[in-house]
């Protein structure tokens, strides 16, 4: 059951809300960004040494660590030539004062499912590369996204972290004898990532739209729109969230803004890890 809650405990007062709106009227944000400006992004590949691939992502004060694990499995009967992909997101109690330990809540599940769909529908993860013996043995690729500091726009940071961790994953060498598979300690150069995807989140605050909202902005936003893109600017996922509405005509406008931001983000990622 989903229930209205105030889990961020209304961190922003009405006074603050007024000042955010007032600044937006002047075309600026309280953290001095322009409405379509992303916060500083840093990606550390291979941060978690025991993971098969990992990435620590900082987006402003938001911090997300993604790690992958490969497990040998059988393929599903209807997809003998594909490995499996599983995405999990945890909003750790470390990350925010009111977060409690326990199984993923609806917010974590929504994040995981949006990341999962963006990766899957875009074919950004090449599941055929995870096949060891067609129809018999494949790799299951677990992607665990751990939110360490919850400071706004965890959605976009989660997609970046998942993509970077998968990029950082190098499949192990195996020796196949009939149906026996021996996993070697060496790694191949093969990453299961075909190309990156990004998710760009816009928040609607009153009559204004901002990209990459911080926590204060999110907590007063009417609605958010998260749109995922491939490098060739196909849309590979959309999710509206929060309990407010958006005018129908605004959707194409917002999509144009997020698309431009996605384009800039891809350029930045190109410099960072040599793809896209």
């Amino acid at each position: 059951m989903s229930a209205t809650s105030d889990r961020l405990q209304t961190i922003v007062s009405n006074v603050k809300k007024a000042s955010i709106l007032k600044a937006l009227e002047r075309g600026v944000r309280l953290d001095n960004r322009k409405p379509d400006e992303y916060r500083p992004l840093s990606i550390t590949l291979g941060y978690a040494k025991k993971a098969d691939g990992s990435a620590l992502v900082k987006l402003g004060d938001t911090m997300v660590l993604a790690g992958t694990k490969l497990e040998m499995d059988e393929p599903f009967p209807d997809t003998p030539n594909q490995g499996n992909l599983m995405v999990n997101v945890e909003l750790l109690p470390l990350a925010y004062e009111t977060f409690e330990p326990g199984p993923p809540d609806e917010n974590a599940i929504e994040l995981a499912r949006v990341v999962d769909r963006s990766l899957r529908d875009s074919k950004a993860v090449d599941l055929s590369k995870l096949v060891i013996i067609p129809g018999k043995k494949v790799w299951s690729l677990w992607v665990d996204v751990y939110v360490l500091d919850f400071a706004g726009n965890v959605m976009d940071a989660s997609t970046i972290a998942a993509v970077a961790a998968i990029y950082n994953t190098k499949l192990p060498k195996v020796e196949v004898n009939g149906e026996e598979v021996k996993v070697l300690t060496e790694r191949t150069d093969v990453t299961p990532l075909a190309y990156p995807v990004v998710t760009l989140t816009a928040a609607k605050i009153g009559n204004f739209v901002v990209i990459d909202p911080n926590l204060e902005e999110e907590s007063i936003a009417d609605a958010k729109l998260s749109i995922s893109y491939t490098p060739d600017m196909r849309i590979v996922g959309i999710q509206k969230s929060l309990g407010g509405a958006i005018k129908l005509e605004e959707i194409p406008q917002i999509e144009e803004v997020t698309r431009k931001a996605a384009s800039r983000l891809f350029s930045e990622l190109k410099n960072t890890f040599g793809i896209a």
């Binding site: 059951m1 209205t4 609806e106 929504e110 996922g237 309990g243 509405a245 958006i246 999509e255």
Partner: protein, 242 residues
Amino acid sequence: MLAAQQRPRLIDERGLRTDGRRPDELRPIRIELGVLKNADGSAIFEMGNTKVIAAVYGPKEMHPRHMALPDRTVLRVRYHMTPFSTDERKNPAPSRREIELSKVIREALESAILTELFPRATIDVFMEVLQADAGTRLVSLMAASMALADAGIPMRDLIAGVAVGKADEVLVLDLNEAEDMWGGADMPIAMMPSLNKVVLFQLNGTMTPEELRQALELAKKGIAEIYQLEKKAIKEKFVEVS
């Protein structure tokens, strides 16, 4: 129990879909209000072979009290599928998909209900999918909207929604199950039509930005049709269009 299936052709040589509809044609719709005795409001909403029953209880006092909110109503919303609503039996425990859709539907309802009128109270909205054949989240949301109207709960507008998808690269209105399974995209969207406001919006699959714009236009047309039926159903407690 499910027999094996192969990918069918989704648009035939005449440009018609697997169920004989034109690309911009809705499935048959049936709406019935006040179907339950105990609930404060209830409705059954059918769209093609998808059928959902919704019940509303409230506004009522919130328990436990510390979960109440000082400035608005707490909505408690459950989207749930009966085990026999799908091809393979569904485990009745809530799946991750059901948890996500309960949230998405709750947020859509929060856009529409005047929650500020009942601070410290709660309104419960429960939906059971009785037959799942594409579009269950939207049919559930519309069943909930009808049940809320049946309960007399003040809303900004009724909610009408429809999915647009791609069948063999053709944009089609109101996906059926074959199009949902084999098509290239599924864009469910729900609105408060008279306010021109979108309350639920998702995209699974892929679209170009241009396709997205066309899909929005197509959806708008379908939503307008459904909205008329909903208004009629409110007045007459029942409507059926096939």
